[in-house]
Subunit: 153 residues, 3 copies
Amino acid sequence: MTVDHALICNLLAEYGALLDAAEYDKWLGLFADACRYVIVPRENHDRGLSAGLIYCDNRAMLEDRIMALREANKYNIHTDRHVIGLPRLIIADGPLIEAPFMVYQTDQEGATQLFATGLYRDRLELVGHDLKIRDKLVLLDTFAVPTLLATPL
Amino acid sequence: MTVDHALICNLLAEYGALLDAAEYDKWLGLFADACRYVIVPRENHDRGLSAGLIYCDNRAMLEDRIMALREANKYNIHTDRHVIGLPRLIIADGPLIEAPFMVYQTDQEGATQLFATGLYRDRLELVGHDLKIRDKLVLLDTFAVPTLLATPL
Amino acid sequence: MTVDHALICNLLAEYGALLDAAEYDKWLGLFADACRYVIVPRENHDRGLSAGLIYCDNRAMLEDRIMALREANKYNIHTDRHVIGLPRLIIADGPLIEAPFMVYQTDQEGATQLFATGLYRDRLELVGHDLKIRDKLVLLDTFAVPTLLATPL
């Protein structure tokens, strides 16, 4: 299966845009029914340590997590801005892609700060004509993330 | 009308590159004859407040604005660097696109700092074989921008 | 010769990803046999000054440089994250492309900081079915870079 470059770019762009617009239900719709979503510091991953900051290996867990984050966000009001770099297609018939990302947060005083940088490693699948995320691994560049991950990355 | 993904990406890349190279005449050439260019903080826009930092609803206004900015830049010497993320095609037959952006500024001492993050929401149109910007809405993540917007975003 | 937009994007994405993963041998493989790699502050380049921070006009020099950097990195342990913006195709039959970039570095304490912003100006060539870098000019936005360029940009 070869997947169109434009389709992959559009999925990544939607992924970031829906988070930034706080449209979490639509964001959940980007995942396949059977999916996995993991956030782990890059260093841990490189050492084979799987302990993640977020680990959801099915959709119900992911939905649950989003509910919890929404609640937490009532006490940490901010907006996010994802900027996702050009994706790299690793296996042409996988398809497995990698894309670097940055997230900026703006608080209620209007101060914008870098929140996180890292790499997405996504296994995608075609569901009908739509490309969906089957497995998303978010490799964070630092282990020193704020304990409160107020939104998904 | 379906517009090619590569064409959209190239237009966005040119948009940023021409601003960063201070080639404002060529930059103006990316807009359709009848065009609109608005910069507004995201928060205001979400609340339905249209008060913008820049509001140009025709090309003469936009040209005038550029002239003024060039003058102002004589007293605020710096260079810009736009990094524009992957675009999201919202309506396939619009075409309306969204793309996140960051702007960094480097001053005469060589210090580089984040200047702004936000989202472009562009309505495009094909003029012959060229894709042009008919309507550009720049949603800034913060209301606390320096009062002097020294170059267009 | 017209080069596919997806192919160009993939080359740039690989370029950044291989540096970030410290896979320097694979990174070298992205260059054509006869190649040039130059890093120069934008200001110098605009004034016609060619004095660069790195100047390699053949592959052996580039390989040698990478060896030296690897050695230096033993004393400056960090990880990089490149985020490369949308490329702009300047000459359709060149192909010459430009793409803005940012590099973030994360140190051993987990602090992530902006390291550099700038513009890539790449002359590419098709070698068989693969797109390779024949000439890479890295225009840095600031002249005030740390003297130790610990990895290629």
